[in-house]
Amino acid sequence: MTADTQVPETKSAPVAAAKNGRSLLAQVGGQNISLIAALVVVLVLFGSLNDNYLSWNNVQVIAEAVTITGLLAVVQTVVIICGGLDISVGSQAGLASVVSAMAFTSAGKNPLVGMAAAIGVGVVVGVLNGVIIVYGRVNATIATLAGLAAYKGVAQLISNGAAQGYVLNDSIFIFLSRGKIAGLPVMVWILIAVALAVHVMLKYTDIGRNIYAIGGNDTAARLAGISINKYLISVYGLIGVVAAVAGILLTARTGSGQPVSGSEGLELKAITAAALGGCALKGGKGGIGGTLLAVALLGALENGLTVQGINSFWQNVAQGSLLVVAVVIQQRRSGERAVGLPG
């Protein structure tokens, strides 16, 4: 499909998508059917409103735009399956972005040093989150809320609140930001690689089994001999690493280290995507497939609203509403009784 042929394709693409959805039905399960349906609705709606919307160019724009959110949503899925939550992912990505650009500059424009420094910081921050939650006995939401503020503050402090360095004179950063492999942007490939790796870990290894077990019933997991603490800290460490990768991509995309802009609000998108994708916020349930579908849905919606020139404030409203609706549907399905605070 190229930009030239997009006019006739406009009509057939949703049909193809619908067919696809049906043939995949057995595999994707009921949970994801509604996501696919919603995605189709969004694509058809904006596709009919705007001829350009379904062009290959615009699809690539959407894919690139959701890469960073997608990375964070993938790891958010893992921590939610464990029964935890991380709302500091955006701040972690911002901090990693600044660190990558500053280390790049001070190491004489060495991109590998910049990336290594960012990932090192990511590991430290992630493990710190895990340690605070597990050994400090701090509720995961509160601990990472604190992180949300603190890591953002650190990023602002070391950067003085300004964008750092310029990286797009380096071939590796250029490759990350503009390169293509087999017609797909490199960034999208990175998302695919990370998502695939996490998916394989969750579904096919004993590590994944144990992660589902911890979120499903932590007492039973403990009595089954799983070292819960080790797992939780590792999962938060993994988040740190992937958030750092997201931060590096953010640097590559914008050309410089961004302490705040570009990473602020990503936690909301990541959590919304995971919840929409079918992760039970109580833990023990969810998968990468659903999350990626939800990421695509959110991206398509955001892009469509932008293309239609709708005020970006509405996008915030739409996102907040989607998160609440997703969770309400989830709770209804699990048959929660409406008494007092939800567990």
Partner: protein
């Protein structure tokens, strides 16, 4: 205080699904008397209390109050009618004062819904005065600052606001010190003099003989008898509480060897002290005792879950470190815990997942789980334990209690442990599944597994165990060989502290 003639039940029965918790109980709780309610675990005491307090609706029969029939659709109705219960574990709001705790839900208020502090103070003072507690309970103390006895007093004060005709105490002394017990008894006697019908549930014989006018004994959900406390003896009560012989339902051969596999020496934790215990290969040791005796806590400590203060656990000659369930499992010990849903099962996951969880180490190649091997294993154990399910991919929450328990057992059987601890393996399970689980236990013993079975059902303990270890209050109070174990002897050991010296030496 009241001019009531007391309460009673007529032909009351209660069924929970298939399980009969209570059948055809007719019993009076006369005003101005203390009626003690006794019985083994699961005899139906709690069910009867819950019917009186409106928490449960009887399947048949009626509740009487002052001679007339009463329909208790809800706890609020029962309360309005004058029936109160002092629960075993007082519910105290930690961050507010005693006064607010007592009147929570019905605080005095001034116009505009403002709290009327002066009135609150006046009321609590008056109530404390009236009940004679003004010197033991400061109304300004916060809920979190109260001692166990004071917490109990708050519950009692709550129960006595308004007009109370019937007050039930559910094992009130379990957390009280001796002189607090004396104070409580003084209060109960005063309530009796005021004409309140007092119901007193307890396992402690000594207390019951001190306090009760009449003693009603429940057994298997039916009334076994009512005795006049002045004429009854401890022996009479124990006989009434037991009085049945189901133990020949499951006969098994002794296949135990001389090889000690599990060797526990002077183990002390928060909840148990000085536990010394051995289990040999092929031996089934029954761990008996009343609820709260510390049996489950011992099991969790052995499994490495609860911290150990002192003492040692040796498994097949290898000393186990505490606080490491994973290490204990690798050493060869499995625990099927008491609460299978809360502590053992992943309800949203498949049978396959649930069974494979502790054997993943054996089922993986460079961390990838071998699907085919996993399925085969799950299928094998589903077949062996006859788990009734359409497929191994079925979610565990959709199974019946008995089949869920079999999944828990399958998990540990798949692990092939040297020692298996089963905590209440047949609780809430129908008779057919019970018999199957007994067979599994017998087969495991034949294979040389050392088994420690915790059960509150005495016939089960007697039927299964080669040796019975009895606990009370976190300690082992006795050990009986299969040949010398009877329900009476186990029960007297389980209540040893409260029986006379003579009885203890006899057991």
């Amino acid at each position: 205080m009241t001019s009531s003639s007391g309460a009673g039940v007529r032909g009351v029965g209660k069924r929970f699904g298939e399980v009969r918790a209570l059948s055809d109980v007719t019993l009076d709780f006369p005003a101005g008397q203390v009626t003690a309610l006794m019985g083994e675990n699961g005899a139906g005491k709690s069910t009867l209390l819950k019917i009186l307090t409106g928490d449960h609706q009887p399947t048949e029969g009626t509740v009487l109050l002052d001679g007339s029939e009463l329909a208790l659709q809800s706890p609020a109705r029962a309360r309005a009618a004058g029936i109160r219960i002092i629960p075993q574990e007082p519910e105290i709001i930690p961050h507010v004062s005693v006064a607010e705790n007592v009147y929570a839900g019905a605080l005095p208020r001034k116009a505009g819904r403002r709290l009327d502090r002066a009135e609150l103070r006046r009321r609590i003072q008056a109530d404390l005065e009236r009940l004679g507690f003004s010197r033991v309970l400061d109304p300004d103390l916060l809920g979190s600052e109260l001692t166990p006895a004071q917490r109990q007093l708050v519950e009692i004060l709550r129960a006595l606001t308004g007009e109370a005709k019937v007050i039930a105490f559910d094992e009130p002394t379990s957390s009280l010190s001796e002189h607090e017990v004396d104070a409580l008894f003084a209060l109960i006697r005063r309530l009796r003099e005021q004409g309140v019908a007092v119901i007193y549930v307890s396992h402690r014989m000594k207390e019951i003989f001190q306090l009760a006018d009449r003693i009603a004994v429940l057994r298997d959900g039916a009334l076994a008898g009512v005795l006049d406390a002045a004429q009854a003896s401890e022996g009479d009560l124990v006989r009434l509480m037991v009085g049945r012989d189901l133990s020949d339902m499951f006969v098994r051969q002794n296949v135990s060897t001389d090889r000690v596999v599990l060797d526990v020496r002077e183990l002390t934790t928060d909840k148990v002290s000085d536990i010394t215990l051995q289990v040999r290969a092929g031996e089934v040791v029954g761990l008996a005792g009343l609820i709260g005796a510390g049996r489950s806590e011992l099991a969790l400590a052995l499994a490495g879950d609860l911290p150990v203060h002192s003492g040692t656990v040796t498994l097949d000659g290898k000393k186990l470190r505490s606080g490491r369930p994973g290490e204990v499992i690798r050493a060869g010990l499995g625990l099927a815990p008491e609460e299978r849903k809360a502590q053992a099962l992943f309800l949203q996951r498949s049978i396959r997942d649930n069974i494979a969880l502790v054997v993943l180490e054996r089922l993986r190649r460079s961390r990838f789980v071998k699907r085919a091997a996993e399925k085969e294993l799950a299928q094998e154990y589903v077949r062996r334990l006859r788990v009734r399910t359409p497929s191994i991919e079925h979610e565990v929450r959709k199974l019946s209690g008995g089949n869920q328990q079999k999944v828990v057992l399958a998990r540990w059987l798949a692990r092939r442990p040297k020692v298996l601890i089963l905590d209440e393996p047949t609780r809430g399970i129908d008779v057919g599944a019970k018999a199957e689980i007994y067979q599994i236990i017998a087969d495991l013993a034949k294979e040389g597994v050392a088994l420690l079975v915790i059960s509150s059902e005495l016939p089960e303990v007697l039927g299964l165990a080669d040796r019975v270890v009895v606990m009370q209050n976190g300690r082992i109070t006795g050990e009986l060989d299969r040949s010398e174990a009877t329900e009476e002897r186990i029960l007297s050991l389980a209540m040893a502290d409260d029986l006379s010296e003579e009885n203890r030496s006899a057991a």
